[in-house]
Amino acid sequence: MATPLKRVRGLGAAHRGTETFWRQRVTAIANIPLVIFLVLSIVSHIGASYGEVKAYLAQPIVAVLMLALILSAAIHMRIGLKEIIEDYVHSEYCKVAALLLVTFFAGAVGLACTLAILKISLGS
């Protein structure tokens, strides 16, 4: 890797600061196969009945992959939206409010999806 990471790794008073950069890349890489899986899942179930969709999502392997996608995408989304806000919102109050909103949004959709998938796969 010839990223700025190389120069700052292990440096600085706090010995941190590149985690967000790295986490964005890790989730980006994870998202590639997981997004392909999501697209294939949706495309192959167009026109399917409720029962068929539910039965598909209830399968352990599908549920695990969906949970992985939700977790990875929620983290990736939070970092990305945070970056956009930090670049374009300059008023301190607006910035803090927007950053809070983004974190809560990521947490809310992430948890709601997680509960839904658990309910589908563990429920009757």
Partner: protein
């Protein structure tokens, strides 16, 4: 100019996908609630507005994914010269459109399989 547009496009598609995430949440939660809730979501996505939104989200997803792969290539320190950047920009635009259309062709082709 093109590369600046691409940088903005990556952010716009990313922000758009946050809305897409909310729709995915709606869909999954509806499946977990039951047939009636699912019917509402299904009806929405089957309509013209729903289909248009899904088509645009498919493109946003493909554009952001391929644009992201481009960023990962840059992270290795390669492809940073002017020619490569231009080529990668066009590759992102063209392949994202081609993939989006292919996904929708596959979707319509598989529609009758249920």
């Amino acid at each position: 100019m093109l590369t600046m547009m691409m940088s903005i496009a990556h952010r716009i598609s990313g922000a758009a996908l946050a809305v897409g995430f909310a729709l995915l949440t709606w869909w999954l939660v509806a499946v977990s609630i039951g047939p009636a809730a699912y019917a509402t979501v299904d009806h929405f996505f089957a309509g013209l507005v729903g289909r248009t939104l899904l088509f645009l989200f498919t493109w946003a997803l493909m554009h952001h994914m391929i644009g992201g792969i481009r960023h990962l290539i840059w992270d290795t320190g390669t492809g940073l010269d002017k020619t490569s950047i231009e080529v990668l920009a066009w590759l992102t635009i063209i392949s994202s459109i081609v993939l989006t259309v292919l996904i929708w062709i596959a979707g319509y082709a598989l529609m009758g399989s249920y």
